[in-house]
């Protein structure tokens, strides 16, 4: 006689709830990028001036000042469309990780630390900024994990 032992986690959430959590996480990430990209676009001169003051990226300041808001808008669009949400989350994690590394390197090598991240985020201190970025990276990682879980459940049902 064979018996099958199934390990069921005590903490279980329904498929619908999981899907809703993923949507909420996506929207949070999307809202952050739209918020900062819009602030950078509207006050572009200020953003560019801030970038020229950072010695690490001084030469590429003009290029970066245009690329960063455009990339943020594109990733926000990817996060908005359900079919491209997964790619959007990967891109979001990549860009946020790059920003975090930039902050860390600026803390190490720059004497003055101008932040032109846009909007209210500029008011954060640099350590708060790192924690803020890490929180958003972990939100995106959780969202990806939930997506993977729900796809594996769907495959099991088939």
């Amino acid at each position: 006689m064979e018996s099958v032992i199934m390990n069921k986690s005590k903490f279980q959430i329904s498929e619908l709830t999981r899907e809703r959590i993923v949507i909420a996480m996506r929207w949070i990430c999307m809202a952050l990028f739209i918020y900062t990209a819009y602030a950078k676009t509207i006050d572009h001169d200020r953003f560019l001036k801030g970038l020229t003051r950072v010695h690490l990226i001084n030469g590429l300041a003009v290029f970066i000042s245009f690329v960063v808001p455009v990339v943020e808008f594109i990733i926000a669009l990817l996060l908005l469309i359900p079919k491209t949400a997964k790619i959007g989350l990967y891109c979001f994690i990549a860009v946020m990780t790059a920003f975090t590394f930039y902050i860390i390197s600026a803390i190490i090598w720059e004497k003055t630390l101008p932040c032109h991240c846009g909007g209210a985020i500029e008011k954060l201190s640099w350590s708060q900024h790192i924690w803020f970025n890490l929180a958003f990276i972990s939100i995106a990682i959780f969202a990806l994990r939930f997506i993977k879980l729900s796809t594996s459940f769907k495959n099991l049902r088939k």
Binding site: W27, I42, D43, L80
Partner: protein
């Protein structure tokens, strides 16, 4: 249909983010940060020579003011500070009426 509904709500969230962004941005925009100069220079009647005023010459000294005696400085990181020494006495200015670019 479900996807469309999701996109519509997503757009709503995006619109809210833009609204919030412009709200927080307006509070820290350069217009509101414009500082009044500590030293004021008034144009003469002909509009050619600037001379130093003893105190604030105009109560309506706002960024949109057309009063020729109203001089408003930009935030300090956008240019040199206007000082008495930087202006030779009796010099001709090329600035547009109502504004002196420091």
């Amino acid at each position: 249909m479900k996807n469309l509904k999701q996109i519509a709500f997503g757009l709503l969230v995006g619109a809210m983010a833009i609204g919030f962004s412009s709200f927080t941005n307006s509070a820290s925009s350069s217009v509101n940060k414009t500082k009044f100069a500590k030293t004021f220079y008034g144009l003469n009647q002909a509009g050619t020579i600037y001379s130093r005023e003893a105190s604030n010459p105009a109560d309506d000294c706002t960024p949109k003011s057309t009063n020729p005696s109203c001089v408003i400085s930009y935030p300090s990181d956008q240019g040199a500070t206007l000082t008495v020494g930087s202006l030779p006495a009796g010099s001709t200015s090329e600035s547009s009426p109502g504004w002196v670019n420091p």
